[in-house]
Amino acid sequence: MVRVDAASRRMLRARDEMDRAYDKPLDVPALAKVAMTSEAHFIRTFKATFGETPHRYLQRRRLERAMALLRETERPVTEICLDVGFASLGSFSRTFSRVVGMSPSAYRLAWRTGAGTAGYVPTCVVMSWTRPSDARQNRSFGEAGGDGSP
């Protein structure tokens, strides 16, 4: 019987790897190796430890970085998509829209017009900013079936 805290410590190592190397093409075999466990066991144990699958954690990490780059840089969406580790613009745009409730360019525009000119942050942007970092209130994150409305 593996001690629960020893297993948690290994899962934390895999989560740290996602935080650190989110821009790399991380996959389950690579992360399971970091966690020193089998692939099937890794997904199950990670979810038991952190309350979400490794896939969803990595997507949230990438989206959080993408949102920061959209807000703070002038880089084109196509570059940001690759910068944060998405393999294709299609999957980036789809995931971003589903989670944030608007497209990457709409998010950038909403942020700038709202936060920059009026001196306040519009409610829809506050909601979209806070959403991906709040796993507890969005259990369906990353899963199919959400209607994508903000």
Binding site: A6, S8, A68
Partner: protein
């Protein structure tokens, strides 16, 4: 009026392993290692700065078995708190500690407040090592601060 912060507490899961890390690798000095009967009182401090001690406490100190087990799991999954140290040369310290096998979560990164890096102790506690910026620091807005926090 309160005059000083003298003791901070970090949960460690094993005193000897903790001393190997905090003294043997990080280079802190041993403040006190005393067998007080029901528990062991172990403190470390930054070299030459004994006025501020870090108490390395174990979850068993003052807690029932179930509570202690829960704390061990929380620490192992990175849900504990950590501390931030200052150094003169963050990049050199990083290289030295990597050579000693310290587990880093972030390489030295430039921020408005200086250069810092992130690491974990063997148990999962996060800590940072900061080389403070020299000269006047321009404090960013909360939004800029959030955006550069990576």
């Amino acid at each position: 009026m309160l005059t000083a912060l003298t003791h901070s507490f970090i949960y460690v899961l094993d005193h000897d392993e903790a001393l190997d890390f905090y003294v043997g690798k990080l280079g802190l000095e041993l403040g006190m290692d005393a067998d007080l009967g029901p528990f062991r009182w172990v403190t470390v401090h930054v070299p030459g700065r004994p006025e501020s001690q870090i108490v390395l406490s174990t979850p068993e100190m003052g807690h029932d078995d179930e509570t202690a087990a829960a704390i061990r799991v929380l620490v192992s999954k990175g849900a504990g708190n950590g501390v931030i140290f200052s150094v003169d040369d963050c990049r050199k310290t990083y290289e030295d500690l990597v050579a000693k096998g310290v587990e880093f979560t972030q390489e030295p990164t430039e921020h408005f407040y200086g250069i810092d890096c992130g690491l974990r102790d063997p148990f999962g506690n996060a800590m940072r090592i900061t080389q403070p910026a020299t000269g006047p620091i321009e404090i960013p807005s909360p939004e800029e601060f959030a955006a550069e926090s990576r």
